[in-house]
């Protein structure tokens, strides 16, 4: 194999344009920065995943016996902080978004290539600080940093973790800024707003949340740091402060942050389903506008995390009603994806399996959201494992399935190589089964009343916890497999060709891997997105191992 690869001289592309550590660390090529991000978020995913496995192993028995109580509290805190801030939030936007936004709109790069590189360095500085915090004692406040526990009672490294996330926030802000300007200013001739791929629409909506929401969490965490360091009294009731104020500020960002995680995944699914149905997406305008609606309404529902926190009866009513409104655009998307397959020509390649998985898990996650928005019911299930199951169906079932689906869809473009299709389908199935076994029992546990963040628990909860732990080991295998065969394919994979899926979209018209400036000449767009009528379907990718 190796000799054949050497024999055929490779065409010049962004990967072989130049070599050496410097050429990567000082690159301003959006595709190389995407790969820098990919490596970094993968690292944090496995760190956060390791913590998750430790949590699940501790919960195998009702007694707290594997780790100490303080260690357990640090495990779930750092699992949450690392997964949310250092994996999920940057996952699709900073990797696939970075790689695809310029290519999808026919641009040579993002509007501000050097700011793009700065954003990665900010991420690395924040991430390094976070890892330093983890390795030198960690933090035990829960990822939510609730006051006054975080400001006056915790004896752990709250300030360091807060600053790490504070710095990392600027990486998100800069990425969002870059995408907004790029989409407004750098579209190729003929690429009107209604011809934009839906991935661009959802990335654009995400970027708006980055810009409007992230400063609020930055200020909030800074207030926590200041209060802890200088005893300001903002959240201290003994000095006239209000601990609930923190929760309002925190969720004002952290609820929209859920949409930061799920919107890009929805964008990925909106690309995959038309491609493997050989059809234009059903209801393009409605899917595009529902992304914007989610971004806007998403800012108005934060207090649904606070129905038992001590807010007034009437504000609870308003936030419950608004939460039901934000559910509508999500439902609209699911219906449109389903309708896209109607009278299509459907194939079951790996990315499509992830899309099916996404719809299934996201639907369950969304429906259980209806339970939580119902005031009288939320009183019972709030802060129990029901909530844990619900948001993992959205964040892991939704966002991570979307991320993996996207990685499998665009891997041939990113690497120029095909991964082994049979292994891809197998991994997708393992992830789906492992995920449901891990998280479905937690719905039942939650309704039975098991509170979250419990290091030890009454024995009647054990059977369901054992099922959940068993599922998490299967899930871990499902996540490791793609790592292995993607790496394998870099060397041994078959050349992908420019457009192995016969997909629409400008990114597929250029070579794989693309050249540094993406296009030899700037394309002129004359067609709507998803113009599958005029693209011949390729031969199906054979099930080779």
């Amino acid at each position: 194999m190796a000799t054949t690869a050497n024999f055929t001289a490779e065409r010049e592309n962004y990967l072989n344009a130049n070599y050496g550590v410097r050429s990567w660390l000082l690159t301003t090529d959006h595709k190389r920065i995407a790969l820098l991000y990919l490596a970094s978020i993968t690292f944090f995913f496995f760190v956060g995943g390791f913590f998750a496995l430790m949590i699940r192993l501790e919960l195998l028995t009702p007694a707290g016996d594997l780790v100490m109580a303080d260690t357990y509290n640090k495990l779930f805190t750092m699992h949450g902080q690392i997964m949310v801030f250092f994996f999920l939030i940057p996952s699709i936007p900073a990797t696939l978004g970075n790689f695809l936004v310029p290519m999808m709109i026919g641009a040579k790069d993002l509007a501000f290539p050097r700011i793009n590189l700065i954003s990665w360095y900010l991420y690395i500085i924040g991430g390094t600080l976070m890892m330093h915090c983890v390795l030198t004692g960690g933090v035990d406040t829960g990822w939510t940093f609730y006051t006054p526990f975080s400001t006056a009672f915790s004896n752990t490294k709250v300030i360091e973790a807060g600053l790490a996330i504070f710095i990392n926030g600027f990486s998100s802000i800069l990425t969002g800024l870059n995408f907004v300007v790029t989409v407004h200013r750098m579209r190729a001739p003929g690429m009107t707003w209604t011809r934009l791929p839906l991935f661009i629409w959802s990335t654009y909506a995400t970027s708006v949340i980055f810009l409007l929401g992230t400063p609020v969490i930055a200020i909030t965490l800074l207030l926590v740091v200041f209060e802890r360091a200088f005893h300001l009294g903002i959240f201290d009731p003994n000095r006239g402060g209000d601990p609930l104020l923190f929760q309002h500020l925190f969720w004002f960002y952290s609820h929209p942050a859920v949409y930061i995680m799920i919107l890009p995944a929805m964008g990925v699914i909106s690309e995959i389903i038309p491609c493997f149905s050989r059809k234009r997406v059903f209801g393009y305008n409605f899917i595009a506008m529902s992304s914007i609606a989610i971004a806007v309404f998403g800012f108005l529902v934060w207090a649904h995390h606070m129905f038992v926190a001590g807010i007034s009866l009437y504000s609870a009513l308003v936030f419950s009603a608004l939460s039901y409104l934000v559910a509508v655009p999500s439902a609209v998307k699911v219906f449109n994806w389903t309708a896209t397959m109607y009278k299509g020509s459907v194939t079951f390649s790996t990315p499509m399996l992830y899309a099916f998985g996404f719809i299934g898990l996201f639907t369950i996650g969304g429906l259980t959201g209806l339970f939580l928005a119902a005031l009288g019911l939320d009183v019972h299930v709030h802060d129990t494992y029901f909530v844990i199951a619900h948001f993992h169906y959205i964040m892991v079932g939704g966002a991570v399935m979307g991320f993996l689906g996207g990685m499998h869809f665009w891997w041939p473009k990113i690497s120029g190589k095909l991964y082994p299709e049979a292994w891809g389908r197998l991994a997708a199935a393992i992830v789906f089964i492992g995920f449901n076994l891990t998280f479905f029992p937690q719905f039942v546990l939650g309704y039975m009343g098991m509170p979250r963040r419990y290091w030890q628990y009454p024995p009647e909860f054990q059977v369901l916890n054992v099922l959940s732990t068993a599922g998490s080991t299967i899930l871990a295998v499902g996540y490791l497999l793609p790592m292995v065969y993607f790496t394998w394919s870099l060397r041994y994979g078959k050349p992908a060709g420019n457009n192995p899926w016969g997909a629409a979209g400008l990114e597929w018209q250029t070579q794989s891997p693309p050249t540094t400036f993406n296009f030899d000449e700037i394309p002129i767009v004359t067609q709507e997105a998803y113009d599958y009528e005029n693209i011949p379907a390729p031969e199906e990718v054979p099930l080779e191992r």
């Binding site: 009672f153 059903f282 429906l367 509170p451």
Partner: protein, 331 residues
């Protein structure tokens, strides 16, 4: 109904059935929706799977369908919203005349004070069929008082009172959990609710009431702290009279009117200058740090007891014996 089904919590409060009904409705709705969507996907994916010689048809979309599948879910959502809100109002509106229990959360235990003066730690005995109102505060971080069998949960905050109520419908012993993460032993901050038949409860109460009632202890403390110097019931004092003030609107010096609820009484003791009653000067000393949470509860219970008609009321005078003050060890 569900007592023998191991995957379901006991259903032991007056509104637990309402919560379960909404839950069952939502489970059925979710099953139906999932079945409909997954079946549709399955049918489309198999019926329209790729076969040679058949091309996908070109379909743009359908505005009628889009409107339909926006409006119909919205209608269903609004029904769930109203249903959930009605139950929430039940859960958060304590009935008149409920027996009051004061709750203090601290890392990592629950301290409970009955009106009759009995104190408990991590255990609450209550009679079946009686309305119980919890008046709760925390002396450190935020906790949350959660009884799964009653379907009730309320965060317990430092610096203010929050309330919850329930009426137990079945005798038995149920879990009490802290459900808001509060530090190292969060999962150890658990206890039990012992629901007893009224006769058993009375026997238990008689056995345990070594101390005076909450209000009489409050009265003693009230006298000990020198409060009667200004708050004389004859109303000629430098402070407003407290007789009958609980639950009534109070006109403040800055023109606002507030209801004199537990939180108002609490704040007026701890930081009196925050809300000064109209016609009075802000001369009252600050009691923040001078009384602990349990003593504060006694004072509040005493001020509230001044509302009741003098005859037969517990601790309604200043003459309660000073010897009845609590001897519970400080923690």
């Amino acid at each position: 109904m569900f007592d023998n089904f191991p995957l379901w919590p006991a259903q032991s409060s007056s509104y637990a059935g309402n919560v379960d009904l909404l839950y069952i409705f939502l489970v059925l709705l979710s099953l139906f929706t999932c079945a409909a969507i997954f079946a549709t996907i399955f049918v489309f994916a198999t019926k329209y799977r790729r076969v040679h010689g058949r091309e996908a048809e070109h379909i743009e979309g359908s505005t009628i369908l889009e409107v339909a599948w926006s409006i119909i879910p919205l209608g269903i959502f609004l029904v769930i919203f109203v249903w959930g809100a009605v139950i929430y109002f039940q859960e958060r509106t304590p009935p008149q005349g409920a027996t009051e229990v004061y709750v203090v959360g601290k890392q990592w235990m629950w301290k409970l004070q009955h009106e009759e003066g009995v104190r408990e730690i991590n255990e609450l005995h209550i009679p079946v069929g009686h309305d119980i109102k919890l008046i709760m505060t925390s002396q450190d971080v935020i906790h949350s008082f959660y009884i799964p069998a009653f379907r009730i949960k309320q965060d317990v905050l430092p610096g203010r009172y929050t309330t919850a109520w329930f009426r137990a419908t079945k005798a038995g012993t149920y879990h009490l959990f802290c459900s808001q993460y509060c530090g190292t032993q969060h999962s150890g901050m658990i206890g039990q609710i012992v629901v007893m038949e009224p006769a058993d409860y009375q026997a238990w109460l008689n056995e345990g009431s070594a101390f005076g009632s909450l209000a009489s202890n409050g009265a003693a403390l009230f006298a000990q702290l020198g409060c009667p110097t200004c708050h004389q019931s004859e109303s000629q004092g430098r402070g407003p009279t407290l007789t009958g003030v609980y639950g009534k609107p109070v006109l403040l010096e800055d023109g606002r009117t507030v209801i004199a609820d537990e939180n108002y009484i609490r704040e007026s003791i701890l930081s009196p200058s925050a809300k000064v009653v109209s016609g009075f000067k802000p001369i009252m000393p600050v009691f923040q740090g001078l009384v602990n949470e349990e003593e504060l509860n006694e004072l509040v219970a005493y001020v509230k007891s001044l509302n009741q008609p003098p005859a037969g009321a517990v601790g309604s005078t200043l003459m309660a014996s000073p010897g009845t003050q609590s001897q519970e060890p400080k923690d």
